[in-house]
Amino acid sequence: MTLNTYGGYWSPIVWVIAFVVAFLIVYILWGMGERKYKKGEQTKPFISGTEEPSKQEVHVRGGNVYWGFTEALKGYYNLMKKMHTGIINDYVLWFIGIGAILFLVIILPEVIK
């Protein structure tokens, strides 16, 4: 069950054993927690006395996840969106362009030689 890699090896069984041991330790620690904790009033968030909005209202939708990351990379993403036009002519143009570059890189040195 050991895979030899270039720099060492990878043994999934060691990882699984380590995972099980870590899980048991966490489970034991969790089991040692406060037993008097009551569900209900104590589980509700306290927002300075303001009533908690419904869960459906505050669920973060997919489009908002990683907003900060994409906002910080706005310049890059604007460029990428311009590149991905969705127009077939542009797709063909990229293909021809890459083909031309590969011609220059592979064939030209042979021609010059």
Partner: protein, 524 residues
């Protein structure tokens, strides 16, 4: 059984081809009969493929000549005494066997998945095209002839394009299909042009025979060099390498769930053709440092553009499509490192490990991305929605689907102990030898990949129950298809040494040591 194995290379093409043409006829009589026919055809193909692959892995190359009975019959002797390999010759080596196993396995899983929900009028056509897709992939992977490669590439492209447009909702799938067929036709045209150039140069179409000519000459003539660039560009486009990847999220995003998964295997068939051209036909005669460098650059661009573009998608199938581009990047990166030292004759340890990682990753990519496509297909089947901004809370009702998504997400992001980690660690460590920076980029991209799939998981499965969606999980057959893939992924993750030693290494050896493939065809 030995007789079956002898004819297996042609039978794995002939059975689904025959069934494909029979399907519309049976469909007119009975839908159950149609399903039974397609299922039997695919299961027979699967059994034959597995037997053929085992035989090739154990005993080496297997050749089948149409119209001939023995290996010698690959040649036709002219009155002048000149002998030419002009028949239709199928050559199955370790790499071909590796690829056909992937294609048939994925098609089998895709078929089970399709049975659960493809019941509309036109299902007969769906299954006909599905089988033709399988024929196209298998033909590309076992043929020893360049013109046949082109023919099967066309069969694959046309059937795939029709299936992408299967659901004509809002016109978007039709648009994606038209884009796919335009791009595929263009690539096929360039491939045909390249084949014509090689035929003009060598009077040959057989890959082994052309490779022998190039290998004996030790250099590549100008026309053959032009042909190489055309092959490289066309197959890289068909494999979805950035920046020629734009068609891929369109096609994957609009196709039915099972077809998106089989399309991943179809793009790998084009990648196989690229590997066959690089390693077998041109081999050590090409400037391996330059070609290796080009593949590494294409790989890095694919990884970077794939993950960063996936991050901003709000359509979950397009998002996975971009992730698939990044996964292709990992394979190209590893293959590029593997090609680097091919010209030296004795390939170094790190190049071999990189190739092992790259070839192993082909299998992993198809299964990981495939599983994710099946899960989001199930989500779309239940909710009729693919917009991440509108979905949420589905883990309450789609418990099994969400578990399968977690497995797929962890595997594609390279989390241990799943299969994606095993192939990626081989790639990271060997690529580090070429440049630590490349390795760091690859690792960071994997982390970003995890972040992307956490986004889908959060958006689709987490959060409160939303009242607008039905409270049920996917049909059993859908879940069963996902379970098959998940089980293979876990097995590959827990026993990577078994997979590498028994399945991956024969494929890598077939690529690196191309002499048996070349010398199997005499004459010319």
């Amino acid at each position: 059984m030995n007789e079956w194995i002898t004819h297996a290379p042609i039978l794995i093409i002939a059975i689904p081809l025959f069934a494909a043409f029979l399907t519309p006829l049976v469909d007119r009589v009975s839908r159950r009969g149609r399903n039974a026919l397609v299922f039997i055809a695919v299961i027979l193909t699967l059994i034959l493929t597995l037997a053929l692959a085992k035989d090739v892995f154990d005993h080496g190359l297997r050749i089948y000549t149409l119209g001939g009975g023995s290996v010698d019959s690959t040649l036709v002797t002219l009155p002048s005494g000149y002998r030419l390999p002009v028949r239709i010759i199928l050559e199955v080596d370790g790499m071909s066997a590796f690829m056909v196993v992937i294609s048939v396995l994925i098609s089998f899983v895709g078929l089970l998945y399709s049975f659960s929900h493809i019941k509309e009028n036109g299902a007969g056509k769906y299954y006909t095209l599905f089988l033709l897709m399988l024929v196209g992939m298998l033909g590309m992977e076992v043929t020893g002839d360049l013109f046949n490669l082109f023919v099967f590439l066309e069969i694959l492209s046309i059937s795939s394009a029709a299936l992408i447009a299967f659901y004509a909702r809002g016109g978007k799938p039709v648009e994606a299909s038209i884009k796919y067929i335009v791009i595929s036709s263009l690539a096929a045209l360039f491939v045909l042009f390249a084949i014509g150039l090689l035929y003009g140069e060598y009077d040959l179409l057989n890959m082994g025979a052309i490779a022998k000519k190039i290998s004996l000459a030790g250099e590549i003539p100008f026309l053959a060099q032009i042909a190489f660039v055309l092959f490289l560009t066309s197959f890289a486009l068909k494999a979805g390498a950035a920046p020629m990847h734009m068609w891929l999220p369109d096609a994957y995003g609009e196709a039915p769930g099972a077809i998106s998964m089989v399309l991943v295997a179809a793009t790998q068939a084009s990648l196989y053709a690229l590997l066959r051209v690089c390693f077998t036909i041109y081999g050590a005669a090409m400037d391996t440092a330059v070609i290796g460098g080009i593949l590494i650059i294409l790989g890095l661009i694919s990884i970077f553009i794939g993950v960063t573009m996936a991050l901003i998608q709000i359509d979950m199938k397009r998002l996975i499509g971009y992730a698939a581009v990044a996964e292709i990047g990992y394979i190209l990166l590893a293959v590029g490192v593997g090609i680097f030292e091919l010209a030296k004759g004795e390939i170094s340890d790190y190049s071999m490990k990189a190739l092992q990682g790259g070839i192993f990753h082909i299998f992993n990519d198809v299964m990981d991305i495939g599983l994710l496509f099946l899960v989001v297909g199930a989500v779309m089947y239940v909710t009729k929605e693919s917009n991440l901004n509108k979905l949420g809370g589905l883990a309450h009702s789609m418990k099994y689907s969400s578990i399968f998504f977690i497995i797929g997400m962890a595997a594609v992001s390279g989390l241990p102990p799943l299969n994606g980690f095993a192939s990626k660690i081989l790639i990271y460590e060997s690529v580090y030898k070429v440049s630590p920076l490349i390795s760091i980029i690859a690792i960071l991209a994997s982390m970003l990949m995890l972040a992307i799939f956490v986004k889908i998981f959060h958006s689709v499965f987490m959060g409160p129950k939303l009242t607008e969606y039905e409270r049920k999980d996917a049909p059993r057959l859908m879940l069963c298809s996902m379970a098959i893939l998940a089980a293979i992924m876990i097995f590959f993750g827990l026993f990577p040494d078994f997979v590498v030693n028994n399945i991956v290494n024969p494929a890598v050896n077939a690529l690196v040591k191309n002499l048996p493939y070349i010398s199997a065809i005499g004459g010319a």
